[in-house]
Symmetry: C2
Subunit: 367 residues, 2 copies
């Protein structure tokens, strides 16, 4: 990527997102939560899940799938658990509410799990797990997805989405440990990049309908900027002899926790409810665990530090590539972007300009 991108301060990116949501009729309270999560995601370098989601969100809206004035409600509330109905709104605000509920339950009982049903895209799972870690707790966040991209081991056809899982835990002196991963080998965006750059993909990112590795991004992902009927992402592991059945199993686990547990739609049953909601009815799951319920000393944070420090101190196979701890790349991106701004590709800026024109929203990202 030799291209030099225009950069924008986080606040300016946030103003742009807010202006679009306001023009779409979203209430101010929901705008605050969505902007906060999306800008934080862009700061952390997860470019596919921040402001770059506005065009797909516009598409959901055009298709009549996105409720801009959702009535997010707690529909079940137990001592350690709760379920929210997201009313077909974007998932950010409902998920932040779910996370705060889970944190409160974990503070009082040691453990809290809150799920959201009838939701839409919530951005990056890591943002929610990190929130829980910032509250001093151990956090897990999962979501299922609205489009099929993963080919289960041995299958010809796709079934699950990229079904991400995020896990975070606080340390005493280091920043929190934050694992944020799709359960596919790579995210859709990496295949798109290989196609755009005309470079072959490593064998095992994508398979064709015969279960054989496809390395040509144009074949897998050309034309309509989506997977061909014949191609899909491998589960983490890659091909069958590299234990892709484990990544497939993890994707199913995420589907169970996020969708089947709280009564959102399992992707294979989407649209088949008696009174299907207007949106994609995806689900999210959040778990918070208080270390104080498991040990009375203050060793949790210091032993997290010992683990993180030992990992950083491991000799590297290639001295130019030091050993990283999950969350390091995101933290490095955040430090750089707070200083220099968030880089946005020209193509995205053009899409956003057009989107603002259509929505009658101010375009605030002039270079």
């Amino acid at each position: 990527m030799a291209e030099s991108l225009d950069r924008f301060p986080a606040a300016q990116v946030g103003r742009q997102i807010g202006a679009v949501f306001r023009a779409w009729g979203m209430s101010e309270a929901l705008i605050g939560a969505s902007v906060e999560i999306m800008v934080e995601t862009d700061l952390r370098g997860i470019d596919s899940h921040g402001i770059a989601m506005l065009p797909p969100y516009a598409q959901f809206r055009a298709e009549g799938k996105l409720n801009m004035t959702p009535d997010v409600r707690v529909v079940l509330d137990g001592p350690a658990t709760a379920v929210l109905d997201g009313d077909s709104g974007l998932g950010h605000a409902a998920s932040l509410q779910a996370v705060e509920l889970a944190i409160g339950k974990a503070r009082s009982l040691g453990l809290g799990a809150v799920a959201v049903r009838n939701s839409m895209h919530f951005g990056a799972a890591g943002a929610y797990a990190l929130r829980i870690a910032q509250a001093g707790l151990v956090g897990l966040a999962t979501t299922n997805a609205s489009s099929r991209s993963l080919v289960p081991t041995r299958a010809r056809d796709k079934l699950f989405g990229t079904n991400p899982l995020a896990f975070a835990a606080p340390a005493a002196n280091n920043r929190p440990f934050v694992l944020d991963m799709a359960t596919t080998t790579v995210a859709v965006g990496k295949v798109k990049l290989a196609w755009l750059n005309g470079k072959p993909m490593p064998s095992g990112w994508v398979v064709d309908e015969n279960g054989a590795a496809e390395t040509d991004g144009a074949k897998a992902f050309g034309q309509q900027q989506r997977f061909s009927e014949r191609h899909g992402l491998t589960p983490l592991g890659g091909l069958a002899d590299m234990a892709s059945h484990k990544g497939y199993g993890l994707a199913a686990m995420v589907e169970i926790l996020s969708a089947i547990l709280p009564g959102a739609s399992f992707i294979g049953l989407r649209g088949r409810k008696a009174n299907p909601p207007m949106g994609n009815d995806i689900g999210h799951f959040f778990l918070a665990i208080d270390p104080k319920a498991f040990r009375t000393d203050d060793g949790f944070g210091t032993e997290m530090d010992a683990m993180i420090d030992q990992l950083h101190a491991l000799p590297a196979a290639d001295p130019a590539l030091p050993v990283l701890v999950p969350g390091d790349p995101e933290e490095a991106a955040r430090a750089e972007r707070l200083r220099l701004g968030i880089p946005l590709p020209a193509i995205l800026l053009e899409q956003l300009r057009e989107l603002c024109r259509a929505a009658n929203a101010e375009f605030v990202l002039e270079a």
Copy 2:
């Protein structure tokens, strides 16, 4: 494996395990729990974690690391959480107790998590997750390990063990979904088999100290039947361009939940406690979730069935290899072994005969 193995009824295998534990001085209550879990593991085809563990357990005992008369105690007991001290005994009985506690808490609060510290090997993680699913709940089970086998992405040296994770969920008509996986690409036993059979391993199971794939099992795992200083298992994913950082992150997650959370020893700090216990001080973590706390209809089981049935119905890339659901291979092994008996290799039978002689225990596995 053209070799035809002698087979033994499950009850006979259980009598043998019990005879050895009794000769080693274990109390009857603990024998019952350990035998039950180990025989069930052999029935489910996880040959590395059942009766084949007796020789390594004998080794722990010879090294003075294994307490055969542990005083397993609940040391912390909150409404939704608890911690047990395993007192350096084998982990099976303490883990079954932890699972029962977690199930009880989940039945009353919707959610229960119980961990065990100061424990030893507990067998296969899947056995405990399955117990939770058999109680009608969603279950997660993790454990850290006593020996280093996983090379974190980019590192020269091993740090974590195979750190397995198991997840199970009940269905209405199908048997439970049971994912039971090491967070390494393959388990140590698969490398041993490649070495024994003189076959090259797929590129990406094992790396050398330069982070390069090692396909020669003899180089990675010859001589002492353990990894050379220079070799180790890759995290799930395999090599760096296949996203092994995700498997490495999952292994760290398992270490955090199993060891750091309940105050067992993080593998990098083993033996460094002020009063180190006699055993390896590994830890286990069990989570139980009651679907009834998340939805008031009875849709959980029927939608699990829909997912399992849709996965089984997916067209296969190779019609000779149908799409499996996590737990299928174990269930097939169980059905076959209940009918035909548990196959035991001649080498293992010889080791067990010798072990019985040394322990003054009856050898009951004459062919």
